[in-house]
């Protein structure tokens, strides 16, 4: 319960802050502070158990399949970290209360701060590696928001993005690593994983897993080569920097090293990767810190350097080095938090963080100055302060390690150099800010001490530096002991915490670094002057932005190269995929040689003989299709050829026993031609001058694709036709009359057996009609003034003969339509054909007499008609529900009336009537709307050479 409270408290706090948004900044502060205090309280209650070596654990199943459980674990290591997170969190909260202006965004700030606190506590308290990763990534996201808190500042946005990118990438690597670790261990529970350290290291996946996990840790902790994001995260409000870069965010990485130490440590992979990364970071960070002009930048690089120190300690091959690392984690958190806060105070009071402008503040703010000086001396590793203790241990361990053989000396030498550098930049901080003349170049002048309570957190931290430095055993001895025990997953080695160990080599190293550092500081201008230009080139943010921009450019080019907006390419790819892959399988997927594969297509059925008439018909159809291709630029001619193809289709349907298809084809053909001719009017002519002529290469490509497609369909059709099958069609033949009440099997299928398809089909029609109407709204088209030969259009719009004949044909055609409708169930015909015949009769009036004439006489809203048709069909289908039958179940009966005789009625006919209405309505909706009523024709002078 304790741990749940610990993790949940900040989240609950954030929620409450958001809920009490109206209460203002102070309320938000109070909630945040109380939350952190409560967390400390919880930790206090847990202390006795922790001190006794108890490991608190809590676990709930969540997602078994990926091994993600709600599992928490509080041991010495997580206790220490939780203590830092809550403790420094509380101080930062207090500090932020005075640092931030009291505006609405402050509420957001405290919300985010609490969320971050919660995420961080989640990382350290997770007992499940995947759960830890969840919190880990949450810290990345929330830190993104915190760094970019002042989002109107470009550098804040860029810094936030960079931090997110680097730590996010690390998080992804860590995810992979954790999953691999889970695979190796068979569990993602920390307790299970920690129990099988040796096994893990012998697993073949260990190196991959280790590298991935380290990528996570190094990015988060800003280790070389991933350190560059951290300085730019300084564009965050200073309380954020104080929190994220002392005790929390960056410490997550080293926490991970500590947490998985028993599992990962002990192989050369670990020693070399970790120690080298740490070593480079240690020295490099320190050197860079010395070169900074920005106060926070200096602190940032010093943070990088100290994290390198910690990492190096983890990587060294002695157990004691790990203890030193843990000790330095605590110490660094304390002095670095106080330094950031001090820097924030300076910034807050003077309006600048530029070290070239700041000077001589001691006179104006001595209290702050004293605090900052103590903290920086601790950072420099000056004796009697806490930083000295862990640095002394560090020097000791660099001497104790035995990793690099002949080059073992490099490690202590580098450590000394780093120590000297840290002395130098600490001095630069102290001297440059508080002394070095008068502050004559400050935005806010004169500076003065901040509010009393703003310094309070700094005071506490500085006191801790002092007390720990003086009496380490009493203050942190127990804490370090249990932390080390938990980290090493066993009893820690012997060590002594004391400011004084007598004169030994580490002390000498300390003294050397102090002297050398002071000298370095003294000669800093000469030493570093010339590197300022180089430094500008090394501006990581700009380089990173360049990289990102280049990445974006490459991506944009790649995307544009892929998606060039050309439909022809897309269709070519589509056809290629649709034809080539199936063809590959059709030809046996490479199992058969080519001729054999072709031969295998032919099935056992004997082919039917080809009679000349059918052969000629097929040939004309094929020829027609080819000619359409050839004539595609002479549009009317192509259309006439297309009509020929349609006619041949009708004849072939007749020949191949499909009278219903022939009827449908006849009528659909007419309406389609009408539509195409309507469109033709507006299309600009292709008079041989328009660009976009097919290049030979394109011709070859398209020709090859088309031929491949043709060959595929040919082959597939032939292969199927020469094979026997056993069709459900037999059932329909048997049941058409008895079950469906009709002799036209196709129609019975359409309205009964598979009436549901027809139902869907009329929905498609209606939707198409609605879509067309919607699209035509407000459409403006330019109409040509000349015909395809360049002459003015004929003067007579509605030839008399045509108009009379159209009217004459109307009743006759309607009668034919009724005939088709009524006979459909038993003979070829049906609602669709009837509807198209009706539509054609009415469309004839549009063509012959114009829109106004026709619509003033046919007062039917086609849209309503189409909708009503669907409703009728639907209600007919629904009708069977009332009799307890499934949807669309039909009923039919034979009735006898005097005079009329016997006749048949079927509900399917009602359904067909619905089809009829929908089709009539839709067809007229579409075609009549293409008439001029809804389109605006703009006169134009472009000529119109569409035909021959």
């Amino acid at each position: 319960m304790l741990m749940i409270a610990l993790v949940a408290l900040p989240f609950a706090g954030a929620l409450i802050v958001q809920l009490c948004k109206r209460a203002g900044a102070t309320a938000a502060f109070a909630i945040a502070a109380v939350t952190a205090l409560a967390g400390l309280g919880v930790l206090a209650t847990a202390w006795p158990g922790i001190e006794g070596g108890t490991v608190f654990a809590w676990r709930r199943e969540w997602l078994a399949s990926i091994g993600l459980n709600l599992s928490l674990r509080l041991d010495g290591l997580s206790f220490t970290f939780a203590l830092l997170i809550d403790g420094i969190g509380l101080l930062v909260t207090v500090y932020a209360r005075y640092y931030l202006p009291r505006v609405a965004s402050t509420v957001r700030f405290f919300t985010l701060l609490l969320l971050f606190m919660g995420a961080m506590l989640g990382v350290v308290l997770s007992g499940n590696l995947l759960l830890m990763l969840v919190f880990w990534e949450m810290t990345s996201i929330v830190s993104f928001l915190l760094i970019g808190f002042w989002s109107y500042r470009s550098e804040a946005r860029k810094g936030a993005r960079m931090a997110l990118t680097v730590t996010g990438a690390g998080g992804l690597a860590l995810l992979a690593g954790v999953l691999l670790l889970g695979r190796i261990c068979g569990s993602l529970e920390l307790s299970d994983v920690l129990a099988q350290g040796g096994m893990v290291q012998r697993h073949p996946l260990y190196p991959a897993m280790l590298v991935l996990v380290l990528l996570g840790a190094f990015t988060k902790s800003a280790q070389f080569p991933f350190f560059f994001w951290l300085p730019h995260a300084m564009s965050a409000p200073t309380p954020v920097s104080a929190y994220l870069h002392s005790a929390t965010m960056v410490k997550a990485g080293v926490f991970l090293l500590a947490r998985l130490y028993p599992v990962l440590d002990g192989t050369p992979w670990w020693f070399y990767i970790v120690s080298l990364a740490g070593l480079i970071t240690l020295v490099g960070g320190a050197a860079m810190a010395l070169l900074q002009r920005d106060l926070k930048g200096l602190l940032a690089y010093s943070t990088i350097s100290h994290l390198g120190l910690i990492t190096l300690l983890f990587g060294l091959d002695t157990q004691l080095s790990t203890v030193a690392a843990l000790f330095h984690i605590i110490n660094h958190a304390v002095f670095k938090a106080s330094l950031f806060m001090a820097a924030g105070i300076i910034d807050h009071e003077t309006g600048t963080r530029d070290l070239t402008r700041l000077r001589g503040l001691w006179r104006y703010m001595p209290h702050t100055g004293a605090l900052a000086i103590v903290a920086s001396l601790s950072m420099a590793g000056v004796p009697l302060l806490n930083g000295f203790l862990s640095k002394e241990m560090f020097f000791g361990e660099t001497l104790a390690q035995d990793l690099f053989g002949y080059f073992n000396w490099v490690v202590p030498a580098a450590a000394t150099l780093a120590g000297a550098l840290s002395v130098a930049y600490s001095l630069r901080f102290i001297y440059g800010v508080f002394f070095d003349g008068k502050p004559d170049d400050l935005p806010n002048y004169p500076p003065h001490e901040p509010p009393r309570l703003m310094k309070f957190p700094v005071e506490i931290l500085v006191v801790i530096c002092l007390v720990v430095g003086l009496v380490p055993n009493i203050t942190v001895g127990a804490l370090l002991q249990i932390t080390a025990a938990a980290t090493l997953n066993g009893p820690p080695p012997e060590y002594s915490l004391s400011p004084w160990h007598g004169v030994n080599l580490p002390l000498v190293m300390s003294l050397v670094s102090l002297v050398a550092g002071t000298a370095l500081f003294y000669f800093r201008r000469e030493a570093f002057h010339r590197h300022h230009e180089t430094l500008a080139l090394l501006n990581a943010r700009d380089r990173f932005e360049d990289l990102m921009r280049a990445l974006g450019w490459v991506a944009a080019r790649l995307t544009a190269a892929l998606e060039n907006g050309s439909l022809q390419r897309y269709v070519a790819l589509l056809v290629a995929a649709m034809v080539l892959l199936p063809a590959w399988y059709l030809l046996g997927a490479g199992t058969l040689p080519f001729p054999a594969a072709i031969g295998a297509l032919r099935g056992p059925l004997p082919p039917a003989p080809l009679d000349p008439a059918t052969g000629a018909g097929l040939a004309i159809l094929a020829l027609g299709a080819v000619v359409v291709v050839g004539w595609r630029r002479q549009r009317v001619a192509a259309l006439s050829m297309l009509s020929l193809c349609g006619l041949m289709m009708v004849l072939l349907f007749g020949r191949f026993s499909a009278p219903d298809l022939a009827l449908t084809q006849v009528t659909v053909e007419v309406v389609t031609i009408l539509l195409m001719v309507l469109a033709l009017y507006f299309l600009p002519g292709d008079n041989g001058q328009s660009p976009g002529r097919t290049t030979p290469a394109r011709w070859m490509r398209d020709g090859a694709l088309a031929l491949a497609g043709g060959a595929f369909t040919s082959a597939a059709a032939y292969a199927v036709m020469t094979r026997a099958y056993d069709s459900i069609g037999e059932y329909f033949v048997r049941n058409s009359v008895s079950g469906g009440g009709g002799t036209n099997i196709v129609n019975v299928i359409l309205v009964d057996f598979r009436g549901f398809d027809t139902f869907g089909e009329i929905c498609v029609l209606l939707v198409a009609g609605l879509g067309v109407q919607a699209m035509l709204k407000g459409l403006r088209l330019t109409a040509p003034q000349f015909d395809i030969n360049g002459s003015p259009w004929a003067g007579q719009s509605h030839p008399l003969l045509l108009a009379i004949l159209a009217r004459l044909m109307l009743p006759l055609t309607l009668l034919v339509a009724v005939f088709m409708l009524l006979r459909g169930h038993n003979l070829p015909g049906g609602g669709f054909v009837a509807a198209l015949v009706t539509s054609i009769a009415l469309l004839m009036q549009y063509v012959a007499s114009g829109v106004l004439w026709t619509e003033s006489r046919i007062m039917v809203n086609y849209r309503v008609m189409a909708g009503a048709g669907i409703l009728l069909a639907g209600l007919t289908g629904l009708g069977s529900w009332f009799f307890g039958y499934p949807f669309l179940t039909t009923a039919f009966g034979h009735f006898h009336l005097p005079v009329i005789g016997e006749f048949e009625l079927a509900t399917a006919m009602l359904f067909d009537l619905g089809v009829y209405f929908t089709v009539v309505g839709t067809t007229l909706l579409i075609v009549s709307h293409l008439g001029v009523r809804d389109k605006r024709i703009l006169a134009s002078t472009h000529d119109h050479n569409g035909g021959r």
């Binding site: 995307t559 892929l562 589509l574 639907g874």
Partner: protein, 516 residues
């Protein structure tokens, strides 16, 4: 009781027909009917989900004609999941549309309802040709919805979308033809039974037909190299439409799963798993292409389009593995990614408009004078929701996308991992970069203040409703996290059901497994 399977079809169908008949000026009534019909779908879908969760496979024989002769609808866990997902999207999209988008053109509501009908029909169809018909319904409705509102940004990509899909439909019919020509049946389960008994000489033909069918579905799913219609179409669509379209690509994935399970059979038969090899690589490429495209995107809606593409790659990669774990991962990831990308499309409407000022004269760059940009009131909320949605979409913790991605990573852990993991994780990284860039540009740097807004009060109300829609979708994502255990159990059961061919045979054909 089984007849209730028809409700997800009949409700939108009748609503759509009524809406089609309503006069254009009855705007309020139209909005009302549309929203009510969409709302009605949700309880129906949830109820059907509960029914399906019992493990039963209710079947309705249309017109009382038994399978395989008549058309049957069948409800399984997969279908029910998709129904619920669609219903959730429908509610959000229709409410969002009624806050403005619907007025941009004619017949929005009717088209919307028919789109739902097509989607729901596809999820229930047990007959291959009937599946085609429902595909056509949803396509024709989507064509119109896509160009709803007009303008060059919609018409051009709309034309491409339409023509590409028309070509696709032709191949769909050819594929159905081949399979019918070989088996003589159209019912998917029956087809599966008959395909198993197919003689060896006909098998290449069956595989060719099956491949073509899968490619058609991959076209709908927008897999590489068939994805080209997607980015511009989605980027151009009105937000409400794009949100509903978030499920369109998933229909393709659904159809792949459906046919794999019913027709080509996972358990036995020579056709099992024939697609594995190439689909796997196509899926990975899709993912990479999507991530690269996202990196190139400069607007939220474009970015989201590529997020959809990347998620398609993830889903197809899992699908192609044809293992129980992978399918469970796919089924978990599918609703997650659909909901968050839909939410992103809804939010994009608000976030992207600020970059394209309606009238330059009305816009003045702010922030120069005061040093701080004056933000449009309350964009903070859009920004927060955007963050949640994008975090989900990229697959960062703690949202559902992370769980889905992790499930998939776990499922691909094996011989495929060296290829899949770098792609999945690399794509996530690129998406992260892309999202942080586009997001910070669109959400954070708010250089414009809009003046001269008419009736700000009404605008505020509409904005709240729109935000509520996005929140509703993201609440779905949240539910996927909070009830991850239950959802996981459901998707496990779904994957199990999909691999249990005899159960389908029993339910649909009423016979215990024949032919083996």
């Amino acid at each position: 009781m089984n007849q209730a399977l028809l409700l997800p079809l009949l409700v939108p169908m009748f609503a759509g027909a009524l809406l089609a008949m309503m006069p254009a000026r009855r705007q309020t009534w139209q909005r009302g009917v549309s929203v009510a019909a969409s709302l009605a779908l949700l309880p129906v879908a949830v109820w059907l989900l509960c029914v399906a969760d019992s493990g039963a496979i209710p079947v309705v024989a249309m017109g009382n004609w038994p399978a395989p002769f008549g058309i049957v609808l069948q409800l399984d866990r997969l279908g029910a999941l998709m129904l619920v997902l669609t219903a959730v999207l429908a509610v959000a999209a229709s409410v969002h549309a009624s806050c403005g988008d619907a007025r941009l053109g004619r017949h929005f509501d009717a088209l919307f309802q028919f789109q739902l009908m097509g989607l729901n029909g596809a999820f229930l169809a047990g007959d291959l040709f009937n599946l085609f018909v429902f595909f056509e319904i949803l396509l024709i409705a989507s064509y119109s919805l896509l160009v709803h509102g007009g303008g060059a940004r919609r018409i051009g990509p709309g034309l491409h979308y339409v023509l590409i899909n028309l070509v696709g439909s032709s191949f769909f019919l050819i594929a159905i033809g081949i399979l019918y020509g070989l088996t003589g049946t159209l019912n998917m389960v029956d087809m599966g039974v008959r395909l198993q008994a197919l003689d060896a000489s006909s098998q290449p033909l069956a595989v060719a037909g099956g491949t073509m069918l899968l490619l058609v579905f991959l076209l709908k799913a927008a897999a590489f190299p068939l994805y080209f219609w997607l980015p511009r179409a989605y980027a151009g669509a009105t937000p409400s439409v794009a949100a509903l379209f978030a499920v369109m690509t998933k229909v393709g994935v659904y159809a792949v799963l459906r046919t794999q399970a019913l027709v080509f059979g996972l358990d036995t038969g020579p056709l099992a798993g024939f697609m594995h090899g190439w689909l796997w690589w196509l899926a990975l490429t899709t993912m990479a292409v999507g991530a690269i495209g996202a990196l190139a995107a400069r607007e939220v809606r474009v970015l989201t389009g590529y997020l959809v593409l990347t998620s398609v790659g993830m889903l197809l990669a899992g699908t192609s593995l044809q293992t129980y774990d992978a399918w469970a991962a796919v089924l978990y990831y599918l609703p997650s990614t659909t909901l968050c990308t839909a939410a992103l499309f809804l939010l994009a409407g608000a976030l992207d408009t600020r970059q394209e000022p309606a009238d330059p004269a009305l816009e003045r760059p702010a922030g120069k004078a005061g040093g701080r940009a004056v933000k449009r009131p309350g964009m903070r909320m859009e920004g927060a929701l955007f963050l949640v949605a994008i975090v989900t979409a990229i697959g960062l913790p703690p949202m559902s996308g992370f769980i889905g991605k992790t499930m998939l990573l776990r499922a691909t852990l094996g011989p495929g991992a060296p290829a899949a993991w770098p792609v999945i994780l690399g794509a996530s990284l690129l998406l992260l970069v892309a999202a942080s860039r586009t997001g910070s540009r669109q959400v954070w740097s708010a250089p414009y203040v809009r003046h001269g807004v008419r009736s700000p009060g009404r605008r505020v109300v509409l904005r709240r409703w729109k935000l509520a829609c996005a929140m509703f979708l993201l609440a779905g994502n949240l539910a996927l996290v909070l009830f991850a255990g239950q959802v996981e159990r459901y998707v496990d059961a779904t994957a199990g059901q999909l691999t249990d061919t005899p159960a389908y045979r029993q339910a649909v054909l009423g016979t215990p497994a024949q032919g083996d």
